[in-house]
Symmetry: C2
Subunit: 441 residues, 2 copies
């Protein structure tokens, strides 16, 4: 393909014909129409749609998957990747992360989120659930990147009424700003950070605002044992019960971590239809000492999905690697090699995540939005190819993704992403400057 | 670089100048002489060696590392990648793995080992410790690939004197065959499989043969709790004590897994100067229910290194990913986020592994063999670059390796490996045929 043709394919949505890919074990062609919708998927569709396509992508036997969905991250923390590791959670936060974050600017969040979106596109993720600061700037980065995001401002009132008012205002502002963008790829959410940083009044306000606006709630829940102990001491109940009392547990709620939920809390989360985001890499790295009870939660009816957490505690955004670590950790911690088999781990990273974020993605089928990633099969990680789901989860990483399409627009084609060098360079500069500012004081 | 020049660089060792790479935090040039030795490494060396080099590789700011060393694998099991997963260890072995292995041919082992070497070259591994069958054919694959290996025949006498004689013969034959190859990149070792598959007489014979030939011993040790329980019941002592009684524990011994060793066993392994190979991915996948006590072993003086195990229980050979999982599992299982920091995990994958295999590799310094890998820094996984060891372990994978050099010969240049497509195709065919033969009975 000539250079200018390549540039052109990235510029906007075009009717696309993707030939010779494997989907659900069959070799098919996929036709994506000019609205970004999968218009047809099946054997031999190339003959029917050859003349309607503006571009034809030869899949060359690649595995086609719905775009992966990262249900818990702090995207702009890419700038902090590798800044501090291997520390006790509290020291890490108070000595390293928070002092650096105090110097974060709106432009830093834009640059960090751009880098995060680039990394997600490269590793096949087309939608993510974000919580951070300067979220208008995060929205700009997401808009430009071409992927999807649910954006929440991290609401932290520290049990202080004055601060609470500011947090309510920031939450309202973000919702209004995102509405004004009128971009179907971007949604606002309410982001009460956690029960140890937000008062009951704050939680109640968040619940009410989210209910009123019909938007998602994104919260950290029971990441550490300390959080559970302190909650019982402070409120005389466990964290999920407290959140339920504040009406935070809804079918629009995504609760991250959930390492320390007990069986009764799992039942409650299931009953309320909550989406729970498992973050195994971050939990292992920070030594949470317990793994999310995925099987209890799934049995109770909660939607168990997957997230990477921020790049400061992972330190990447590769959802293929997260799915593998989830499968490994569940087997190891719960002492049963048969739990969370490959196909379930893959479902967590795709359709379960999509269900949580509500963009209508997560399946490759006629009528669905064209969030499609192509994973190379002519690669060592897919050789031999006895079982596709096993190779995808246990053998491959996001590096095996060669083409990423979101909402019908080609964002990466055969590993090529336009503008990548500039994004890397500017993010590296922003990270260096941030550290310099923090050193100076 | 023109196509024919590219082919030429791969053909044999050449005097090489590698410019503009980061090693130990400094930007340096590396000159490799025609014997495959690092002749010079330092700032500005390009001026001194420009005229001596037949090829100049522009490192473009890449991180230069010694080639990674995989100290426990069964290379040819790449053919079984994804054939069966998510099962109880005993069912997995008896219902899936062993029935398939019963149909393995010498050519299968050649094809599977070729695929493994390709995968290792791609992910920056230049030496590995192997145990399997048809090891003459494995040696042929290693020889052709250009990397290094210690090869052992999996000695399994099942407590039967007749079978023992056959295993002794196979072990002697491999040692003689490897000696006849006279290839400094390939060593023979003795491979008593484990205490539950090899009699005391067998273990003693292996110890004596290894001592006589001055070659390494490669064994599985205390992978499961069952192994420890059965050993105590059968022999009235724990596995390490049994091995010590049979004189298996030596400074030439590599013991894989060691999940269930107690503190006294750690002291014994340290005292005997044993190399212990941590295999965290395999251990998690098969739910061993305990992680190797790396800190006890290191404190006792054992050399703690890293291995992927075979591709049937991992399911890849990526030592960067193994190093991350090691750091995560150690923190999580031993409930301390400060243990096994990134630089130590990286050392396990490089110089500790090199020490175990004894090829003299593992450091980038003048006089050392030129086993060098270049990791791209113009990539999201290395952006920003606050701390190289953190990015290498926690953020990157083997996919970030762009160039791999072993013994002074370029095996991969800017992600290009000559002959890759053929190796993938032939290994895929061999795997399909193997499964067909097993189905037919």
């Amino acid at each position: 393909m000539a250079e200018d043709t390549m540039t052109d394919i990235f510029s906007k949505k075009h009717p696309l014909l993707i030939t010779n890919v494997m989907a659900d074990g069959k070799t098919v062609d996929i036709f994506v129409d000019e609205t970004g919708t999968i218009a047809a998927l099946g054997e031999g569709e190339r003959r029917r749609y050859r003349n309607d396509a503006e571009f034809i992508i030869d899949g060359d036997g690649a595995i086609a998957l719905p775009g992966l969905v990262n249900t818990h991250t702090h995207a702009a923390m890419t700038l902090l990747r590798g800044y501090a590791d291997d520390m006790i959670l509290q020291d890490w936060l108070t000595q390293k992360i928070w002092p650096l974050e105090a110097h974060l600017t709106a432009d830093d969040v834009y640059q960090g989120t751009r880098l995060a979106c680039l990394e997600m596109i490269r590793s096949g993720t087309t939608a993510f659930n974000d919580m951070y600061f300067f979220m208008g700037d995060a929205a700009r980065a997401v808009d430009e990147s071409g992927i999807r995001a649910v954006l929440s401002y991290g609401f932290i009132d520290l049990f202080n009424a004055e601060k609470r008012e500011k947090e309510c205002k920031a939450t309202e502002d973000l919702a209004a700003h995102v509405r004004s963008l009128d971009n179907p790829r971007i949604k606002a959410a309410v982001g009460p950070h956690a029960i140890y940083t937000v008062s009951e009044e704050g939680l109640e306000w968040c619940a009410e605002f989210a209910q009123h606006k019909k938007i998602p709630i994104h919260i950290h829940l029971s990441e550490t044992e300390q959080e559970v102990r302190d909650c019982i001491e402070r409120y005389g109940k466990r964290p999920a019960a407290l959140l339920d009392q504040c009406r935070i547990l809804t079918p629009r709620t995504i609760a991250a971590h959930c390492c320390w939920v007990d069986e009764a809390e799992c039942a409650l989360l299931g009953k309320r239809g909550v989406h729970v985001s498992h973050n195994p890499v971050s939990n292992m790295k920070l030594a949470t000492n317990r793994a999310m009870p995925c099987h209890w939660l799934a049995d109770a009816g909660a939607n168990v999905c997957l997230g990477t957490d921020g790049s400061a505690s992972n330190n990447n955004l590769d959802m293929f690697r997260e799915a593998k670590t989830a499968a490994l950790l569940q087997k190891f911690y719960w002492n049963n090699p048969t739990i969370l088999p490959a196909h379930e781990a893959l479902a967590m990273a795709t359709d379960h995540g999509a269900k949580a974020l509500g963009f209508g993605t997560g399946k490759l089928a006629a009528g669905a939005p064209a969030d499609i990633v192509l994973v190379a099969t002519r690669a060592a990680c897919n050789t031999p190819l006895h079982t596709a789901s096993s190779n995808l989860v246990y053998s491959c990483s996001g590096a095996a993704v060669e083409t990423t399409i979101c909402d019908g627009r080609v964002l990466m084609l055969e590993h090529e992403i336009p503008g990548e060098a500039t994004i890397l360079k500017e993010a590296a500069r922003a990270a260096r400057d941030l550290v310099s500012r923090a050193r100076e004081g």
